[in-house]
């Protein structure tokens, strides 16, 4: 180190060592100068000129300290490398070098764009539905209060009136506590009669949301009293559509359910609660409702006081419930109350779906990262020579790594911009496929939060797939590469590439398995035996207004006439009536068997009830199991009769003959069982059909809402106008709702499952394509790198077939490893799907085998092209290249 004669002192050696260490921090281009300058200074420092006595202990310490400050100098030099100018230079170079390989760049860009685009689209849905707060003041204070029955394990049960009133007068945790019951109204003003979904609510309903009306005033405090209750509040949408946005509608009287109601307010545009409601009217509790503590039908909404919290409210409600249990042991024993944040209550139904989709797109992004890392590795291997030349020209490893990272960042940012465009398009398509309901209204869109996440994803993915090739450059002996002449990335690159391909394949397998399971579920749901003939059947729903049809006699007469008129139509084979068309379920009612149960208790068996026309079973083609169907003579003059389904017979009369037995339900009249029919999917497709009983509406009209079930000769859609005319011929003010073929209704009822499976399938295909591209990239590269070796083999007599086998075989090794890993991961991960699956186990072996086979085929196909290229090598050309 020293050019002087004489031995350097130990302090001097130490100082030189410190400088050598500090030099590591200096960019390679300036390192030599740095070391020369500092070691000269240190050497001179220890040997003053002209020669004097050597420096004393204090001076030596000082010099040591000075040599240590070389670190600050080194850091300064390093920082000077990273100027804006040099960064811009890096970017220009990165763009140029990406443009030199347009094929590679396009493939990488597309991969990143798909990965980030899918994530942006799904995240904007998650953001709008799960993360965005409800559009009301202090949304965290809004809660729903449910009842629950610990003894029976019932959860989220609506409240009975008396409990609700007790809560409202006793609880201090709420600044407002309101209740309501979902329903619908027929309005007949300003256009054709129309059935409008809405809610009957307590007067303080809007106080809970703290949203003042756009026009008019909220309900008065007396609104829930019979006589004072004829007031309605309109939603903004209904007001614009039906009343042309006319402000003078306030104070006007309109016809609601055949009665006169005064419009008192119009709500502002963003107010939707419940999501479907377009109208609100005061609720009036009947005497029966006020007295029956077993009648649970109220949805309870509350706003917590500033001082309260969900937990505090829950504690207070527990105390009140305990008191009610004590006071009313007969009805309230075992019953408690449950306070839940409104936002989570409104998103419960979709949370799982969205999280599954979010997980799926997360996988896509990982696969995309692995793929681009792979492509970059292959490219880096091809550029090893370029790298070594640049190193020889004075670029440090750090500089080269930085260059590679810049390139991958340019790729990921450009990919993210493309991905954002894709997300816009995809989101549009997504919302067409399934109208996603945002709690509290509003739209799904890409906002600042989503943009932020996209930017973050771009940055992280850029680093993630850039680090891999950068590390290989870091580890490669650049000088060695230069001497070798041919660009080779060495063993590390190969191993990394293999690991990436294996994990890509594994992740793709998990996604494809998930999609496969969902597809099977949807197919199983659509294959469910509905229990009746679903084709050539048109459904049209209507509700008789109580004002025009006040008693059973008039209602029953209308129903009879409607069936007669409809059946007279030439396009119609038969017509029947039922309050609920499959797969709608409706409520369940307690049933007493005569001679078995002698009192009304909460422990009685329950069943669904249908008041149908006598010909319902014949028209719907529901098979008769025992006894007889209902007939025209089962009218108000005949005996009170009932037909039950097989589930009912099995549940209430196991091992006995149900015929001739009498049951009581709904009204307290005993009805004799005259027939047993087959089970019908009366509680949604894929749910076990509970017991159901049917009785003739001529004996008891159970619901003024009816579905006209029309068996048509031809296409049911062609009969729509005929049926409409038949109804309006009887009553021109009667709106028909949900007119659609039964098959369409059934298929719509599984739309959520179909939506999931469509999206998952899309993502699975994407994942498979990406995995295929990954395998192709690796094999293509390895064939290129082994040209010489393969040429030599063929020159020595290896056949084209054996070379083909060799290449495909090595690709299959990776694929099989990926498949095995993927199967293991699937077994662990698809369990999260179990809630969304129907009649298929998350670990379904058939699916796993089929999916594994599919991925093997993908692996085979992806490696076949490079293998073919290898087998067609001309040995002479290949060897000459070497």
């Amino acid at each position: 180190m020293s050019t002087r004669s004489g031995r350097p002192t130990s302090a001097e050696s130490l100082a030189h060592a410190i400088i050598r260490l500090a030099a590591w921090l200096v960019p390679i281009g300036r390192r030599h100068d740095f070391r020369r300058e500092w070691s000269a200074e240190v050497t001179w420092g220890f040997t003053p000129d002209p020669p004097r006595s050597p420096p004393g202990r204090l001076a030596r310490l000082r010099l040591l300290y000075r040599s240590f400050t070389a670190v600050f100098d080194a850091l300064t030099l390093r920082r000077q490398e990273f100027t804006l100018e040099s960064v811009l230079k890096d970017f220009r170079y990165a763009i140029r070098s990406l443009l030199r390989r347009p094929g590679f760049t396009a493939l990488a860009l597309m991969t990143v764009a798909l990965g980030i685009g899918a994530n942006t689209a799904i995240f904007s849905v998650v953001n709008s539905v799960l993360l965005r707060p409800l559009p009301y003041p202090d949304p965290d204070q809004l809660v729903m209060v449910w009842e629950n029955d610990r003894t029976r394990g019932w959860d989220r049960v609506p409240t009975n009136v008396e409990d609700f009133l007790a809560w409202r007068s006793e609880a201090t945790a709420f600044s407002a506590l309101a209740a309501g019951a979902n329903g619908s109204f027929t309005i007949a003003q300003g256009g054709e009669p129309e059935r409008v979904p809405g809610m009957r609510v307590t007067a303080d309903f809007f106080d809970v949301f703290a949203v003042p009306p756009l026009l008019g005033r909220p309900f008065g405090p007396e609104a829930n009293v019979e006589g004072a209750h004829r007031e309605v509040v309109l939603s903004h949408a209904l007001w614009e559509r039906r009343f042309g946005g006319d402000a003078s509608v306030i104070g006007r009287t309109i016809d609601v359910d055949g009665d006169s109601y005064q419009v008192v307010a119009v709500m502002p545009e963003g107010f939707h609660f419940p999501s479907a409601a377009r109208m609100w009217a005061p609720i009036v509790f009947s005497d029966a409702q006020l007295q029956d503590r077993n009648w649970h039908f109220l949805l309870t909404l509350g706003r917590l006081t500033d001082a309260s919290s969900v937990l505090a409210a829950q504690a207070e409600m527990r105390t009140i419930s305990a008191r009610l249990e004590e006071a009313y042991p007969e009805s309230n024993s075992g019953w408690g109350a449950d306070v839940q944040p409104l936002h989570s209550e409104m998103t419960n139904g979709v949370r799982q779906t969205l999280l599954i989709l979010l997980g799926a797109v997360g996988f896509i992004l990982l696969i995309a990262c692995a793929n681009v890392a792979n492509l970059l590795l292959v490219r880096a291997a091809g550029r090893a020579r370029e790298m070594s030349v640049r190193a020889a020209l004075g670029a440090g490893k750090l500089r080269l790594v930085r260059q590679l990272l810049t390139e991958s960042l340019v790729l990921s940012v450009a990919g993210a911009v493309l991905g954002l465009g894709l997300a816009y398009i995809a989101l549009d398509a997504l919302l067409t496929l399934s109208p996603i309901v945002v709690p509290g209204g509003g739209e799904v869109h890409i906002d600042v939060k989503v943009l932020g996440l996209t930017a973050l994803a771009a940055l992280v993915t850029g680093l993630a797939f850039g680090v891999v090739p950068a590390t290989t450059v870091w580890k490669t002996d650049l000088q060695g590469t230069l001497k070798e002449g041919r660009g080779q990335a060495g063993g590390t690159g190969k191993r990394t590439r293999s690991i990436l391909v294996i994990s890509e394949t594994a992740m793709a397998l998990v996604l494809v398995t998930g999609a496969g399971l969902m597809i099977q579920s949807v197919r199983a749901l659509l294959d469910v035996d509905v229990g009746l003939r679903t084709d050539h059947m048109l459904v049209a729903q209507f509700t008789l207004p109580a004002a025009a049809y006040p008693d059973q006699e008039q209602q029953s007469l209308f129903f009879d006439q409607l069936i007669e008129r409809t059946q007279a139509l030439p396009s119609v084979v038969g017509a029947a009536l039922t309050p609920l068309a499959p797969p709608a379920s409706g409520g369940q009612y307690h049933v007493r068997v005569e001679g078995v149960h002698d009192a009304w208790t909460m422990d009685l068996p329950v069943a669904r009830a249908r008041s149908v026309s006598a010909n319902y079973f014949e028209v719907m083609e529901i098979p008769l199991v025992r006894g007889r169907y209902l007939t025209a003579t089962d009218d108000q003059n005949g005996d009170a009769v009932v037909v039950v389904d097989r589930a009912f017979a099995d549940a209430l009369f196991p091992g006995q003959d149900p015929l001739g037995q009498s049951i009581r339900s709904l009204l307290d009249t005993p009805r004799r069982i005259v027939g047993v029919v087959g089970n019908v999917a009366n509680s949604g497709l894929g749910n076990e059909a509970g017991p159901t009983y049917y009785f003739p509406y001529q004996q008891q009209v159970f619901s003024t809402t009816m579905n006209l079930m029309v068996r048509t000769a031809g296409d049911p859609n062609a009969a729509v106008s005929d049926v409409q005319e038949a109804v309006w011929g009887l009553d021109s003010s009667l709106p028909l709702v949900g007119v659609a073929p039964l098959e369409e209704r059934l298929s719509d009822s599984v739309s959520q499952a179909r939506f999931n499976s469509t999206l998952l399938t899309l993502f699975a295909v994407l994942a498979m394509v990406l995995a295929g591209v990954g395998i192709y990239g690796v094999m293509a590269y390895s064939v290129g790198a082994r040209t010489g070796e393969l040429g030599l083999r063929m020159a020595l007599g290896a056949s084209a077939g054996s070379v083909l086998n060799m290449v495909v075989g090595s690709a299959m090794k990776l694929t099989v490893a990926g498949v095995l890993l993927g199967v293991a991961a699937s077994l662990a991960l698809t369990r999260v799907l179990s809630g969304a699956l129907y009649q298929v186990e998350p670990s379904d072996p058939v699916t796993l085998v089929a999916v594994s086979a599919t991925l093997m085929i993908v692996g085979l196909a992806a490696s076949y092209i490079p293998a073919l290229r290898a087998s067609r090598l001309d040995p002479l050309v290949a060897l000459r290249e070497e």
Binding site: S2, T3, R4, S5, D33, R36, E37, W38, S39, A40, E41, T43, W44, G45, T47, D49, Y65, R66, T69, A70, F72, D73, L75, T76, L77, Q80
Partner: protein
């Protein structure tokens, strides 16, 4: 490239102008903390206020020592020093007895 003129950079320029032309000498002459001198030199050099030359290798060999790196002011450096002297009158007084050049 622009540089923010501080007392430190002024003092370093003044020291070089006064004939203290290599790293440790500048540290000794200015009395500012050792760790700040080299970063200041790098910034001034990058800003074009200083230029550096290596001592003639033959001269160094004669003295049996490694060649040192010498710094000197560029014309821009001289005018920057003039401004620094106005802004920080203390700078000029730091080296009263050394002839410029």
């Amino acid at each position: 490239m622009a540089i923010r003129m501080t007392y430190l950079t002024g003092v370093v320029l003044e020291a070089i102008e006064s004939g203290h032309r290599y790293g440790f000498d500048i540290m000794d002459a200015t009395g500012v903390p050792d760790g700040t001198v080299y970063p200041a030199l790098r910034r001034l050099e990058q800003a074009g206020l200083l230029e550096a030359t290596w001592e003639d290798a033959a001269d160094a060999a004669l003295k049996n020592r490694p060649a040192r790196k010498y710094y000197r002011l560029t014309p821009e450096g001289s005018s920057a020093l003039a401004q620094a002297r106005v802004r920080f009158p203390g700078v000029a007084r730091t080296f009263p007895d050394v002839e410029p050049g």
